[in-house]
């Protein structure tokens, strides 16, 4: 089932949680609602589920109006941030709940229910825990029970509210990959809410970036990361260096860099601001032909897949550079060394920098 969100607006007392939010979730895709706290993403998810009613706008499932349908009518599977497992029921009873409360005519026999429950518990790899109580399970296990419970009634849509928010980093990573594999196996249209951009970029087919109740950008993880539509998106996804600039004649000074302005570029109305991801910068011991500045290495962190280097420029500004492990070894950098920091790929840099200055 596809979902269309059309101009949803929601206000709580004086606080605007969502303003004119519109986008679509195609059938079968795993979409992430990504944004900081207060961006309205959980409110939006609850509106899709029918747990909140919007002040304006519409929610359509497969093109049909669903905005006024109650939560129980929408056939939506919802996984809560803190799982909301029924604490007095065993794992089995929790998963069986949705099947047992169906109206008599539609209700499967106990045997059929048991078979379905065990099938689902097998799917989430918790078959041996069927008789345990939620209090006897770890956070990750509870999360999987919540998922199985939501899937038991064969919903058309699966909604997850910060599913891994309450878990340890390692468990979070494992479960995140496991969720992706599960989604690929079942193929159900899914939407999940997260504030963790790494999670969204790693798991989702499509990312909706929200900020203060508005949609900043909708796109694939690659699109939002490499072609951010606004400064907010740029800053929110991944690390970033910020360069304040000023224009002088036919050159523009951005931080410590000096770039040539193409002929005929009008002077910008506001002082330009540029963003550069750490991996777009490079370090050399000798000057290069690219825009560069001299800097001193302040800190080197080699733990991880890339090497993170902090340098200090002449004005005292700190710039972050990321190098591959090979490059780092080739350079044999030391703390305190004097180096040249340059822009690796000018095209990408300028392409990503139409913000603020319109260079």
């Amino acid at each position: 089932m596809s979902i269309e969100i059309r101009q949803i607006t929601k206000t709580f007392d004086q606080f605007s949680a969502l303003t004119d939010v519109s986008f679509t979730v195609p059938q079968g895709e795993l979409t992430a609602l990504l944004g900081p706290s207060g961006s309205g993403k959980t409110t939006l998810l609850r509106i899709i589920a029918g747990l909140e009613v919007p002040d304006a706008g519409a929610v359509l499932f497969d093109g049909q109006e669903a905005t006024m349908r109650s939560a129980s009518e929408r056939k939506v599977g919802f996984v809560f941030q803190h799982y909301a497992l029924f604490r007095h029921m065993t794992v089995f009873e929790n998963v069986a709940f949705g099947l047992r409360v169906k109206p008599k005519p539609a209700r499967p026999s106990e045997a059929a229910i048991a078979a379905k429950v065990h099938e689902l518990l097998g799917l989430v790899q918790l078959d041996r825990m069927a008789e345990r109580l939620p209090s006897q399970l770890s956070g990750g296990q509870r999360q999987r029970v919540a998922l199985a419970r939501a899937l038991a009634v064969q919903p058309k849509i699966l909604l997850l509210d910060e599913p891994f928010g309450a878990l340890d980093a390692k468990v979070r990573q494992e479960l995140r990959r496991w969720l992706r594999r599960l989604h690929d196996e079942i193929g159900i249209t899914s939407v999940f809410v997260t504030h963790d951009q790494e999670e969204a970029l790693e798991v989702a087919d499509r990312v909706v970036v929200l900020n203060e109740g508005r949609v900043e950008q909708v796109g694939t993880p690659g699109e939002v990361y490499e072609h951010p539509a606004s400064p907010f998106v740029y800053k929110f996804l991944g690390n970033v260096n910020l360069f304040h600039g000023r224009v002088e004649g036919n050159k523009v000074h951005l931080g410590e860099f000096t770039l040539d302005l193409p002929a005929g570029t009008p002077a910008p109305a506001v002082p330009p601001v540029a963003y550069a991801r750490p991996h777009l910068l490079d370090i050399d011991h000798q000057p290069t032909t690219r825009p560069q500045f001299r800097a001193t290495i302040q800190r080197i962190n080699t733990a991880g897949s890339v090497v993170k280097v902090e340098v200090v420029g002449p004005s005292g500004a700190v710039v972050h550079v990321e190098l591959s492990q090979e490059r780092y070894r080739a350079l044999a950098l030391r703390k305190g060394a004097e180096v040249y920091v340059s822009i690796k790929d000018l095209a990408t840099f300028t392409a990503q920098n139409m913000l603020g200055g319109g260079i």
């Binding site: 803190h82 909301a84 029924f86 770890s138 009634v153 309450a166």
Partner: protein, 282 residues
Amino acid sequence: MSAERLPLTEPPFVRRLLIGVTLAYLGLFLLVPLAAVFAKALERGLALYWASVTDPAAVAAIRLTLVTAAIAVPLNTIFGLAAAWAIAKFDFRGKQILLTLIDLPFSVSPVISGMIFVLLFGAQGLLGPWLAAHDVHILFAVPGIILATLFVTVPFVARELIPVMEAQGSEDEEAALTLGAGGWQMFRRVTLPNVTWGLLYGVILCTARATGEFGAVSVVSGHIRGRTNTVPLHVEILYNEYQFSAAFAVASLLCLLALVTLAAKSVAERKRTLAVEPRSAP
């Protein structure tokens, strides 16, 4: 340098003093009166004890107390559930007023609680003439006693349920709704089991008050022996007639009930605290 122990607790003699004072105070105020009741009850021997407790007037009083509780407690339990549901799960204007209204019977003296029913149903009362014309007896009869008891015990279940339901939030109910449960199914299968111990705690308090109420019932009862006396009133009558041993014998029944109440209360309280534990993952 030697590690000095921080003074994190009182010196031993202070501790012993405080414990001593506590034991003495509680012993004096709680244990001694309890012992006195049972001692006085059995002063004249077991035969008299038994006779006092099985005397027809006493039995009638016991029956009336039980009937009153059997009616008042369930009615106020249903009220408590309804009120707690409305207050804990929804936002609306006037919630604070509603809470204050529910608390009202707590702040009204028992005598006044009885008096208002006399003003309402008495011969000179608002509805007096109408009742007399239809030969309906509320005052000085069982219905009046039930109404007065109902008034006095209104807050008990609600006041215990509201904080429990508020602390548990609405997520479980929302989960049940997304799974397709209807309203009553959700209430029966999810809400009620979650509040069981809080509910029991409230019911225990409500029952204790309903069976022991004296002032309010005294005003509306008419003290007609064998007909409109509850057990506490019967105790009063016996005492005022100087039948001390009999009075204490019947009073000892109430004491036993109170002790059972206390025991049940501790159990329910402990389990209730467990049911409201915050839901973070381990």
